[in-house]
Amino acid sequence: MKKTLLNLIISALILTTTSMYSQELIVKSNLENLTMRVGETFKPTSFAEDLEGQKTMCQAVIYYNKKGVFSTAKAVTVDRDKGTIRANEPGTHEIVALCIGQEGQRLSRTFSVQVDFPKAKEIKITLTSAKVYEGSYIPLEFEVVDEMNFTRKNEFFQLSSGSENIQIDAFNNVKAVSPGKAILSASFDDISTTLTIDVLSNPINKLELKASLDVSRTGDVVNYEAVGYDINGNQLEGLPFTYTFSGKAIDKSNNASGLIMNDGRFVADVIGDYMISASLGTSSASRPLKVVGRGVEREVLKVGKGVVSDKHTSDFWVFEGVDGRDYAVTGTWGADGTSFFWDVTDPANIKKIDSVKVDARTVNDVKVSQDGRISVIGREGASDRKNGIIILDVSNPYDVKILSEYTKNLTGGVHNVFIDNDHVYALSGSQRYFVINIEDPKNPVEVGMFEVGKEGQSIHDVWIEDGIAYSSNWRDGVYLVDVGNGIADGSPSNPVAFANYDYATGAHHATFPFKSKSTGKFYTVLGDEIFPDGVDENNPNITAGFLHFVDFSDLDNPVEVAKYELPGQGSHNYWIEDDVLYVAMYGGGVRIVDISGDLLGDLYRQGREIGYIMTGTSNGYIPNATMAWGAQLYKGYVFYSDWNNGLGSSKVSELKPDNSKANQYINKTPIID
């Protein structure tokens, strides 16, 4: 009885309270259907209104751009002092009016504000080929420059022509059908222009298609060159040929895929019979290409393991000690600040020989100096929040000693480090890296710093080779910084950036420089890190992302030419040596990939995989859950660390894989040895 009465009282109180806020109100504003011009300001007024049209004034109205406060939200800005909004960029933008009611109720509504493009003052049509031949589609670009000097590319112009020798389709594709002068007319926003096109007769009497190979392996780049000759047998120069391919795969369930470039380079992904064609107008020539298996598969044998079964393992480094024996150090993740030291002299018998525990939860990265005497580990999650780095004496890895702690400017946590010639490069708070001189390892001294210097700058890793620091800066891509190479007069105390490349996904997390032995070309291999579904620390996870191969042979004009993407698995850390890639692909294990020769297109589909190692173990932290973290080739063995399993070693055999257990009905593919 007492309880029922109480419930009634509570219900009455709650009803009284909520009824004050249960009126159906909507925000009304002169922002509704608002159209502005760039540069214009507008003073919005807003109020609340109920279903009967009863108006209620707001105690205050807060306006904001729904994109937030960062650079992407500058299209319409709010001046709260003046109570106005300003249109800065054309387009449709969302402005929220948040009405604070007289009794503190909040009510909001989003309004679409149209900001018109300024009126066009000039339109341009550009012919992107020096010559146009009959029978060809005419390569055109369209551009509008408006009264506020905004430029828009490839707007849809109204095209027309009174010339009978060109044809225009519904999508503004223009075809040259016969020789002669043609006038193409275009209009946009009441502005008109014309382009005179000189359609040339096809001069080709004979067309020859040259090739660097007629039989290639998957992944081999074949160079094609179309050569046209006139009626007198003279070679014609500067003809804008179009290259295409068709083909049939040996495997009937597969398609004969590949990539062909405008300059005639072609790479086939799968085994099959291809036909490569070059054409100009009605002239064309084709040439068959037989594509056979790459034949690089090798037996990969697991050799040894050093399981860490009570913690997640992070990065590792294998090194030769001062005593000539071989050792490794591994970090731990989300644990208690422990790093383990291993004797790996016999890769089949990996022995845990020492450990160091520091005030941290994660030791994400570990590195060892070239002389095998000094190790540096990064701290994250220190209880005093100072984090920084710990410098270790590893001259006797059986008895590792802490030499010093260094935290200045590194309190945000050191996610990655590198040691090079008595200097430590340590990331700071995921924004920049500091250079610390450790000639006296007990008294480290900061000597330099590098940061990208952009709004929202961010960094994940730094790697040094030949006096060049390669920093991986997420959306800002890779920065090549002279820290002693001399190419840009840089030094550890004066890091000088001299090249950069970024890409659209902005997920750039690691870099490995790669000078191809087989071609002499210089690449940076840029790795993504992506977790599309977030995290689950206690179970296997979905990962994504891949390696981007960027040809940096011309430092001023880097070109992304190829990728390595394992379906369903994302990339993490990797190693390249002798034109072979060893990449930890999280749940996909360590993949060993032949990256010899020219690189173009999708390397995974090109049958370049030599073998793989599934790095899970039955007694791992999460048993049998492969989560490969990194790989390193060391004295002929592939060492790796696995987040759930610790350290391991494998060997790539000279032998081809044992197919005795393979499905006998799998198509045998031709391989050239």
Partner: protein, 349 residues
């Protein structure tokens, strides 16, 4: 009005056993724990993984629950480079939406007046320069403004009427009052004795204020002087320091009970918690069950304080439950490593 209703409900129902629910974040495990306390024992009901980058520690730091109780909000300190605010459903404890904030977003609260969320960007590991308070509309999860305040702002708390947001700048030693409606700094006050403020210089406040908590009924705010080992009382009517009370080492976070009777402060460096009946002179000092005491929230019925304790290295974080009348720890529960942010959700009968 709302506070009166809530107090009325609790005052009538005191004779029934209560179930208390709250959330606590583990900064070095990227987890948030939902904990139930039944008056005797605290139990971890669920450990919720948070963040989106498996191999990065994203550092869940600040927590707050929507006044409706339908949502909880979590600041993730680390990002690329900016941290973020994630909105979760209390029904499912699954994330609903997310927005980017500034560098190392930390503590936050929602104003009952504006419905907006005010989160300080602690910028704990950055340069010694003024940081900001991010104002977020939690309905659209849009960061609508960053209001510049001092160096390393922390302890974002809203006045009882929802009109003002208070924070303190740890390194520049200032108290900031932000007008929640105009989104401008209304007043500032230096907390260091004999010091004129200058952001241009490298002033390191000896007070190192880390938290500010408004009194529920009186025009006062209480500030944790983490560096000066004191609680500082500021009268907001006259905007002056009116009292400095010595504490143990390193007061860090503060809460005041809804009835205005108890002030509870975590003493981070001492691994202790201070419980102070504000009308009495001498506070009680209570030892916690681990080291590095961090956050505190008091149940709305003013009976219990829930205190997070970080631990060191591989130690589990934990939550100590303190009976305020008895001034003793009555229960303790382990959660993930480096337990920090804590927010009360609800009481059920």
């Amino acid at each position: 009005m709302n506070k009166f209703i809530i107090l009325s409900i609790f005052s009538v129902t005191f004779s029934y056993s209560q179930e208390y629910y709250f959330y606590a974040a583990a900064e070095s495990d990227d987890t948030v724990s939902l904990i139930n306390f039944d008056g005797e024992t605290a139990v971890e009901l669920e450990r919720i993984p948070v963040g989106s980058m498996k191999t990065e520690i994203e550092g869940p730091h600040g927590l707050t629950v929507d006044p409706s109780g339908d949502y909880w909000y979590l600041s993730l300190a680390h990002g690329n480079p900016y941290g973020s605010l994630v909105k979760f459903s209390t029904d499912t404890n699954r994330p609903i939406d997310k927005t980017t904030l500034g560098l190392f977003p930390a503590s936050m609260q929602i104003s009952s007046l504006t419905g907006l969320l005010y989160c300080v960007n602690f910028n704990l590991h950055g340069a010694m320069k003024p940081s900001s308070v991010s104002v977020v509309d939690p309905e659209t999860m849009t960061e609508i403004k960053q209001i510049q305040t001092g160096v390393m702002p922390h302890g974002s708390r809203i006045s009882p009427n929802g009109r003002y947001q208070y924070s303190v700048a740890m390194m520049s030693g200032e108290l900031f009052e932000v007008d929640a409606l105009t989104l401008e700094v209304n007043r500032t006050l230096s907390l260091d004795e004999n010091h004129s403020m200058s952001h241009g210089g490298m002033h390191h406040s000896p007070v190192k204020p880390t938290w500010v908590m408004p009194h529920p009924t009186e025009p006062k705010v209480y500030i944790a002087g983490n560096g000066s080992d004191e609680i500082i009382e500021v009268n907001t009517a006259i905007w002056e320091i009116t009292n400095r009370i010595n504490t143990g080492k390193g007061p860090y976070n503060i809460d005041i009970s809804a009835d205005g009777k108890f002030l509870v402060a975590t003493l981070k460096s001492d691994a202790k918690t201070l419980v102070w009946e504000l009308d009495k002179k001498k506070p009680s000092i209570i030892s916690n069950n681990s080291t590095v005491t961090h956050g505190v929230v008091i149940s709305p019925d003013s009976k219990y304080a829930f205190v997070t304790v970080e631990g060191v290295g591989g130690d589990p974080g934990l939550v100590d439950v303190i009976d305020l009348e008895k001034a003793k720890v009555v229960s303790s529960v382990n959660i993930g490593k480096q337990a920090g942010g804590i927010a009360f959700w609800k009481i059920e009968e």
